[in-house]
Amino acid sequence: MLETIFGTLYTLLSTPYYMGLMLIAVLIGIWVGLTPGIGGKLSIALAIPFVFGWEAIPGAIFLLTMHAVNGTSGQISSIMFGVPGDGDDAATVLDGYPMAKRGEAGRALGASMTASGVGGIIGAIVFALMIPVLEPVVLAFSPAEFFLLALLGITFIAFLAGGGGMLKGIVVGLFGMMLATVGMDPQTGTARFVGEQIFLWDGISLVTAVLAIFAVPEMIALGVKGGSISAVSMQAAKVSYRQLLGGVLEVPRHWWLVIRTSVIGAVIGMIPGLGGSAAAWFCYGHAVQTSKTPERFGKGAVEGVIAPETASNAKEGGSLLPTLFFGIPGSSGMAILLGAFLILGIQPGPTLITDNLNLVWMLIWALVVGNVMAVAILLVFARWAAILTFVRGEFLIPFVLTMCVFGAFVNEAQWQNLVVLALLSAIGYGLLSADWPRAPFAIGLVLGGIAEESLHKALALWGLEFFLRPLSLVLIGLIALTVGWAIYSGWRRPVASQTA
């Protein structure tokens, strides 16, 4: 075991190819986090075509590192302009922005970047510590449970939408599973939903679908919205190294808070559907509750920056756990990452622990090393990095859209995929503009094939009695509770809030 743990670290650090890939991934991840209009999910979707055909380990390291570090740079706009990059950064605004307004932007940035990096490292350690505990649990799962886990994954991730969006999330997830049935049926050899289109016999291209549902709608929405994220002058965005260093030192000064919020964040990340926002807000609340001077929060308390940042990055390590071992993404970003892993030939599930522990440890170390790299780069270049938040969204749109069409085509070299891209993009924009969650679609599409195969295997082994297996009953109970709650809360929710 120890040989695997330290052997993978040595391999990672001593292989210039891996380190070079990680450096590129870190730079892209930082850029993505800083630039308005491009989120972490979109960046993975855009990167998938480039890693297509790569070996599993370098491809997975590249994508995971890129995904893990974009949260580290995302807080810059939260602190400097009061504009959160995404939901995960919203809690940071509460104290980060007041600090910036009173001239302590550098201190807030130094504290948040260091906290974010340390959180990412502790999250990876928590994940690593969970592996021996989890191994017997994962190995107890049979095809029956894997079918039900796929359904549970969709219902859990629908929670990300929150409130009445859960119902929509489940429908979208099932729609994704439905599209996963397009193509040749593995049981009977029947071509389903393909008409005369032979290129669809292998199913809908995952890359095309992910680009269409996530990337293209975001760009259309950005074009419709228009403008730049920042209304603050370039002069106001300047920070000094002295302040940055002061902020860095705040993290060891509050070490006990950092450890607590990192562990809480990692544990929240392990629960599919709760997401980074929950981790950040929960830990912000924890910091307020445990502070001797809670009245300082909301007015520029540095602990109010440290707590949400450690938590939101620590949750990445935690959310990798259900993604890799159960095939249930712990967050919407992980849903797309899961699709990318499948494209790279990494099959999530219990065999990863038994047959591919090297890959698992390589990913854990990639999280650690990637976060260290990101923090070091950001601390050196933070003064200039803020300038990126002034980029006008309209200038990004044509480049991202052209990347999408290249990505859809390159994957299978079929021009028909461009037509599929256009059709699914219309549905994707419909989902976005009608306020339907899109992450469950990716999970449904990714897990649809696994779910169908598992269902047929379970029926062949146990018939309909597979529903009565103890673990199956537990999972069915969880699904029923989740769906029941979705329906109940949907009808109870005040109508006014839907029309707002």
Binding site: V171, L174, R192, V495, T499
Partner: protein
Amino acid sequence: MLLNRRVAFTLVMLAILVAMVGMAAQYPPDARFMPWVVGIPAIALCLLQLGRDLRAARHAAGEAQEGEGSTLRREAAMGGYFLGLVGGILLFGFLLAVPVFILVFLRHWARASWPLALGLVAAAAVVYYLVFVQGLNVALHQGFVTQYVLERSSE
């Protein structure tokens, strides 16, 4: 107005799901099993959602939708740009359609100056060529019109 954006989209989703479940009826039992296992509950939940959307639309009826017209125009324009890009690639190929699309978008939508727009187009063309044609060695789609013209000119 009952048929607002949300209701319309829920109806679209419902129509797609109903059509797929209906099509699956023609397949052998084993082949239609999964589409039905997934599709029928999805239709039921979609109907519930439609009920909720209609309820919300009834409450919102009469409320003015500020800026709806201009949003629709911008959405149509953005959709047009994207469809133009896809259509342009299908007809004229990546090498022609992509630079033209970027240039037109930057000039007319982003209001970039000619030098900036041309510079960005040139940079993008070089990067795309190096990455996709040279790096990944992909045979990019030539475009049906371009292919036809090239074939005719070589005869």
